[in-house]
């Protein structure tokens, strides 16, 4: 779904924040949104339930301005973490160029993290993607809470694929931009490699975010 549209000189990438419920995906986006300078502040679309847990998804279009003559946009999405919203997750996942898996570092959430990671793999497969081929990053969130699992432990348990990972405390912004920067780089490089490999080029208009 990522696009380098040479005609309109646009680059658009879709990054999905995935993870179990309440792991801090929306908090990541909120921090990014809060960090935007006034001139760039776009509207963050958040469809949340009364208890503030993501019902459908958050969508934050991120306009990076013109880079090398190309209007560059990142579209950041979150999926609803709750198990029963798998259909929405699949929908949001469609066309993702990169995935940030936000893990909840609390010990008691470990199983949910594993389950969510498995769910991610399944859903990607349904879209015809191999999790090994799509840019993926792990973020070990809530590191500020007491008694959480250390990044090393989580790395051992969750990062069996050896993808880049970052410890984070999204609520204070720690690690949020590190994560975003790395996934963006991976996505852009992947995009570039793909073009070089296949000559794939999108000449049509930007697809709708969903």
């Amino acid at each position: 779904m990522s696009l380098v549209n040479y005609s309109s000189r646009e680059i658009t990438c879709k990054i999905v924040y995935y993870g179990p419920g309440r792991s801090g995906k929306t908090t990541n986006l909120q921090h990014v949104h809060a960090s935007l300078p006034d001139g760039r502040k776009s509207q963050m679309v958040s469809l949340a339930t009364e208890t503030d847990r993501t019902l459908f998804f958050d969508f934050l279009p991120l306009d990076l301005g013109t880079i090398s003559g190309f209007r560059t946009r990142l579209q950041l999405y979150t999926v609803p973490g709750q198990v029963y919203y798998n259909a929405t997750r699949k929908l949001v996942l469609r066309g993702a160029d990169g995935i940030v898996f936000v893990a909840d570092s609390q010990r008691e959430q470990l199983e949910e993290n594993i389950e969510s990671l498995r769910n991610l793999q399944e859903n990607l497969l349904e879209h015809g993607f191999d999790i090994r081929e799509i840019p993926l990053i792990l973020q070990y969130n809530k590191q500020d809470l007491p008694g959480v699992l250390s990044p090393e432990v989580l790395e051992e348990v969750l990062n069996f694929r050896g993808v880049p990972s970052f410890p984070a405390t999204a609520v204070t912004g720690v690690g949020v931009f590190d994560t975003l920067r790395r996934i963006s780089e991976l996505v852009l490089r992947n995009l570039s490699d793909r073009f070089r490999r296949t000559g794939e080029l999108a000449a049509g208009p930007t697809s709708s975010p969903q």
Binding site: G65, T66, I67, L201, A203
Partner: protein, 643 residues
Amino acid sequence: MRTLELDPRFTFEAFIVGEGNRLACAAARRVAESPGSTYNPLFIYSASGLGKTHLVTAIGQYARRVLPELRIVYDTLEHFMEAVMAAIEEGERESFREQLGEIGLLLLDDVQFLAGRHRTQEELLRAWDTITSRGGQVVLTSDRPPHEIDGLDERLLSRFAGGLIVDVGPPDYETRVAIVRRKAEERGQTLADGVAEALARFAFANVRELQGALNRILAVQELEGREIGAEEAERILRSPVRATGGEFHDFVAEISETVGEMLAHDTAERQLADAILRWEGEGYRTRRLEAALAEPGSDEAIEQLVRGFEADVARLREIVSEIAALDPGAPELDRLELLRDPDRVEEAEVLLEGVRDRMRPLPAPPGTFTFASLPLEPDLFAVRVAAAAAEEPGSRYNPIYIHGPENSGKSALLAALGRALMDADPERSVGYLDGATFARELIQAIEKNRVDGWRIRFRRTDALLIDDVDVLADTERAQAELFHLFDDLIRAGAQLAFTASCPPQELTGLEDRLRTRLGSGVVVELEGPVRTETPARDAEEPPLQMEGPDLPAEEPALAAEESALPTEEPAWHDGAAAFDPEAGAGTEAATGARGGTVDAVGVAAEGGERDGSVRGPDRWFEDREKLPIRWPYPVDRLSEELE
């Protein structure tokens, strides 16, 4: 109406173009070059300090330079709308509207303040329509794109979208280096090696901050009277007030590098994309390139394609220039679907060919003859009619119909008339051709389906002289065309003249409607053949003889009107035969002596000169005391007018 001063420092020349602002700068230039014709409105937005005001001012400066007559208003939205509101409150809406209509270029800064101000938006809409309806250009700047201006009226949104919305991005590293160097230069200071680069490495949020940092370095240099090195510059910048754009700017700065690297690999596609963007922006169809973009080939193939495309665009431009030069008001210039489509160059060539054909001047009269060098006596009635027509073309004697046998000098007289018309006014277009050519070119035009162009070519002439018009006998279309052309040219005040071998009423094979028109002006006759040259002639010019009725009345050739004269005035006509005392004297052949380009000339004339046989009266008859009451026909009156 108030207008802010345009800061003279802010010109296009002083604007450093980088990837982030290339598009905005190109669009601004385009607008400045031809306000109101390309991107209207041009909406430039960016975070502050990236050059919006510089660009908008540069547009104003440039437009003022190339179009000094253009009324330019540069203001902030706030002030401009205050003026609009004040005019309304003072009941001067109409006169203010008049003033608005005179604006050729409106430059409005900071339109983001439209947010939530419905009345202001409403009035801006009105002002806008007044300005643009008269071809005025509007340029707006804002710190955000239109759709992010809260509560912006849909109509305004759609107007913005109807032009070009373009952002000015932050400068990339190289551009920052260039900006730092240029600014230092403007301040008359030099920077040590690596200082500009050190400054550019800092992630400043905008150019203004970058300039602020440079100012600090320059201030230290100035105050301490020494040059700051790169390391020291960095230290100064890091120390107390390093300006950063925060996490997001750092992020963007780093991502920029990644994007730059990524795009660097796609050079051929970029070339294609650049070409599409550029030519689309210039209004050309880019179908061919778009197709290639969908299925890109090798780098060489793409390069070749782009080169071919650009060559076609260049050719189209040449074609447009040539058409415009040939005929600035050519309707063909409106055929943009063709003239802006490089895939249709061939059709454009045909279009140009048509215009060339149409605008090709009609053949000019041969330069061989002037009234002074005619092989005819200047006193001849026909010669004097032609000379008078040359002085007042289109109004006095129109058309002139000259008839006479072969060798009578009628073609030469026609050519001399044409020459005189051209000499009197070099701008005047005079067409001189024979009837056969007229018919032949019509057939060619029919063959090429260019009759319209053929007609226009003839209609725009100031004088049309057709030799041997009688060869059109028995043609159909040529006669019909000449008939219409005749009326058109007469209406337009063009001078017409024709030659033929016989008077109009004796022409056969010509439709009456044309025949009567040919004879509707002045019909004169040359008897021919033309005189031969005798070297001593001029010196021995004797006075006119007035032989009256006794003159050799070989055949008093009568012009159309003349033939209808009442028979009770025979003496008048009989006496008109000979003006030239040398009649019968010249005997030498003079083949080619006068250029010989016209059929009746340069042929040996036997039996001396007889050219004055036109029924024009000799001087004996020009006595006003005698003749006025006996001039019932126009041609008779000529004798007085020509005196």
